[in-house]
């Protein structure tokens, strides 16, 4: 299998490659079609709009009280015996986690799925310190075996089909080449089971951190989350600061939205509520539980009253599943931890607009993402907002604002503005264009690589309406 590095700077080249790769095209198309259908069916038992309103309100309320809720979460977690750590950025979070591992002399770490850990490249950091970190979510495991990064936030290996998975497992673990999914799953399960038992530390993400009770909720299907958080003597949960919710009663609606939006499930196979380490007399559970709360750019998003809506996200991936661009180019093309629409509004904050300048424009603004978002993030509006930051004069709130400002393009829009605010010139221009339509170019850059060029009409609507009026008046006179 080829190891390839993807970057957001190379979006265009990567999109070109993906579009020309029939395997990628069909893997994503088929998977996304399936996910869209499942979501549609799963919401059959709910008034989806009412539930989305509720979800949005819960997240908005949590964000409005974010600083207070984080303090409350910390206090209640501590009271439960969960030690809380704060990290300003990914590097600090990595250091905290490495030091916790080192304090226990840990050599082997087993990981549940965590996108935040991907965001801060935790595995590389631990590896450099001589600590092996093994992914236990099946998709993450396959991606790790294949030396890749996730191509989807919920289904990390969705870019691989069964044959490719069989090849990866054969090459890396010596399993038979087969498309028997049960065999492959059982093989991976057996491989992972040994590693759970040998792990010194388990690292997981968090789906909802409940402030009022100090409870960490973890949503999963494979049981690897349950194993990661209960088998090793130490459990470290790592999450972004925005994952906090106020009340325990906020969890059921968000959970209902998350599973239905993500995989079309009414419930997941496992739903873990972690409320502290093993207590005296209890038969299982870790001796230590830590919570690492990571900022990594989130509090700067929080300062902007439009962009802060980005932080409502509950990481369901529905925006990707429904995005016609993501469906065609796949997740790796974006070259970022979070791909697709949510990635295009989140990554500019995490990496700056300089590196991610092609992402906000990589959308036709069709609105499918905003339509399915379970917490009603106005993704298309935020894409436009980031486009504005990118072409503005550099006074925006996002690092790298103004990076796409181009003198020629500014002049073109100024020219357009002048014409569109001088109706006489506009009408005259339309007349000239119509008169000389035979001169209109048949090639118009990339547009005509795939389509014919539009030709200006011989008569503009303005002129046609005048003729129409005269005709009506003549008819009236008769």
């Amino acid at each position: 299998m080829n190891v390839q590095t993807f970057t957001p700077q190379a979006f265009h080249r990567q999109a070109h490659d993906a579009l020309g790769n029939p395997q990628i095209r069909s893997n994503f198309r088929r998977a996304m079609d399936g996910l869209m259908a499942k979501r549609r069916d799963a919401f059959g038992d709910w008034d989806i709009e009412t539930l989305r309103d509720l979800g949005a309100n819960i997240r908005l309320r949590a964000l409005a009280k974010l600083p207070d809720l984080l303090e409350q979460l910390e206090a209640n977690c501590q009271a439960n015996g969960i030690r809380v750590h704060w990290a300003e950025d990914g590097e600090q979070a990595c250091r905290i986690i490495r030091e916790l591992c080192e304090a226990r002399g840990a050599r082997h770490v087993i990981k549940g799925k965590s996108m935040v850990s991907e965001e801060m490249h935790l595995n590389d950091h631990l590896e450099a310190a001589g600590i092996e970190a093994l992914e236990s979510d099946l998709g993450e495991y396959l991606v790790q075996l294949n030396e890749q990064t996730p191509s989807h936030i919920i289904m990390p290996a969705i870019h691989l089909n069964t044959e490719e998975i069989s090849d990866v497992m054969h090459d890396r673990t010596g399993t038979e080449r087969t498309i028997d999914v049960d065999y492959l799953t059982a093989a991976a399960r057996a491989q992972l089971r040994e590693r759970f038992m040998a792990a010194d530390v388990g690292i997981s993400g968090v789906n909802f951190a409940v402030a009022e009770t100090g409870t960490l909720c973890l949503v999963e299907n494979e049981g690897n989350g349950r194993m990661t958080t209960t088998v090793p003597p130490v459990h470290i949960a790592v999450t972004g600061i925005e994952k906090v919710v106020e009340h325990l009663r906020d969890v059921p609606p968000l959970y209902a939205l998350l599973t239905r939006s993500a995989t079309g499930q009414h419930v997941t196979t496992y739903f873990n509520m972690i409320s502290g380490p093993r207590k005296p007399g209890e038969r299982d559970g870790p001796e230590e539980v830590h919570l690492v709360l990571v900022d990594n750019g989130r509090s700067s998003i929080y300062q902007d009253n439009e962009l802060l809506d980005t932080l409502r996200c509950i990481r369901c991936g529905a925006c990707m599943n429904h995005c016609p661009v993501y469906t065609r180019v796949g997740g790796h093309t974006y070259g970022t931890t979070y791909p697709g629409p949510i990635g295009s509004i989140l990554m500019p904050h995490l990496m700056g607009l300089e590196a991610t300048k092609d992402l906000p424009s990589a959308s036709s603004l069709c609105g499918a993402c905003g339509e399915v978002c379970p917490v009603k993030i106005p993704i298309p509006d935020l894409l436009v907002r980031l486009r504005k930051e990118a072409v503005g004069e550099g006074r925006g709130n996002v690092e790298g604002a103004g990076v796409k400002r181009d003198r020629k393009e500014v002049l073109a829009w100024k020219g357009w503005q002048w014409l569109a605010t001088h109706p006489g010139a506009w009408r005259a221009g339309a007349g000239v264009a119509g008169k000389f339509r035979f001169l209109s170019p048949s090639r118009l850059g990339p547009w005509t690589d795939y389509r014919t060029a539009p030709k200006p009409a011989a008569t503009s609507l303005h002129a046609m309406v005048k003729q129409h009026r005269r005709k009506l008046e003549r008819e009236d006179e008769k």
Binding site: H12, A15, H16, L19, D33, E49, D53, P324, V325, R328, V329, D358, S361, A362, S363, S364, L365, C366, G367, A368, G370, D381, V384, L386, R387, K388, A390, V391, G392, W413, K414, W416, Q417, L419, A420, T421, P423, W426, R427, A430, A433, P446, W447, T448, D449, Y450, R451, T452, A453, P454, K455, P456, A457, S460, L461, H462, A463, M464, V465, H468
Partner: protein, 256 residues
């Protein structure tokens, strides 16, 4: 909650905002839209100073330029008549984004007021005029592409197909992934031409494999994109390409 839209009774007069794309490239669609309204007994006022709603600059991030152009349109509709726009995308811009664009400015209440009078053409024909169409055309299998802005921004997935279903000789064919974007997206088609091309190729294939003999859309951006792709394939010698037009022209042609 999405508020329920209450439609007004049929007015005596309406304003017509033709859109720049129709003005320059598809004027017949504009004229046919005007005729459809006039046939309902409505006097159609066409402000001569109209140019463009400002959307191309808006979605590209040039909001000062967009605001200047939008501001020039705001004064064109002084009387309380509804403003009819034969495009979901320009209609969505004026209804949804004008209030955002002018929020906090001296034009704010005017922008809100104008936005409240914006109706997309098929929306107005169905919900305000309650048109009854008499089909005089030959039997034809037709695919409808509803633009994303009409469908999602304006919530008008049903009005276009509803009008077509009144045409007794027209069979509305069902496409796979009918709600998926055709890949136009304004400057998206220029900034990400290859992705856009993959999208429009899939859309033309969906229309063709649905067995359509003709396609209609209520947005000229989509028409330029899908129609341009079909025409290009025809020029390249591929058989069985489908012709298309704006729904206003199709309705007028078949019922006049």
């Amino acid at each position: 909650m999405t508020p329920i839209k209450l439609y007004p009774p049929k007015p005596d007069k309406v304003y017509f905002f033709g859109t720049c794309l129709i003005d320059m490239f598809y004027p017949q669609a504009g004229l046919d839209g005007i005729r459809l309204l006039e046939r309902e007994g409505i006097e159609v006022l066409f402000p001569d100073d109209q140019t463009c709603c400002g959307q191309p600059a808006y979605t590209s991030g040039y909001h000062d330029e967009a605001r200047a152009v939008a501001e020039a349109q705001l004064d064109l509709f002084p009387e309380p008549w509804p403003i009819i726009v034969p495009s979901g995308s320009c209609g969505g811009m004026m209804r949804t984004h004008y209030p955002q664009l002018f929020a906090g400015s001296s034009r704010s209440s005017q922008a809100e007021e104008v936005a409240g009078r914006i109706f997309e053409l098929t929306e107005f024909l169905v919900h305000v005029c309650h048109v009854r169409l008499e089909d005089k055309g030959q039997p034809q299998r037709v695919a409808m592409h509803t633009s994303c802005s009409a469908r999602r921004e304006m919530g008008l997935a049903e009005t276009g197909p509803g009008l077509l279903s009144q045409l007794t000789n027209v069979t509305l064919v069902e496409q796979v992934r009918a709600s998926e974007c055709c890949g136009f997206g304004g400057t998206f088609a220029v900034r990400h031409p290859e992705v856009s091309a993959a999208m429009v190729e899939d859309k033309t294939q969906a229309i063709e494999s649905a067995g359509a003999e003709h396609f209609v859309t209520s947005d000229c951006g989509c028409l330029m994109n899908i129609g341009g792709r079909f025409e290009r394939k025809r020029q390249d010698g591929q058989e069985g390409q489908v012709g298309g037009e704006h729904i206003a022209s199709y309705l007028w042609r078949r019922t006049s």
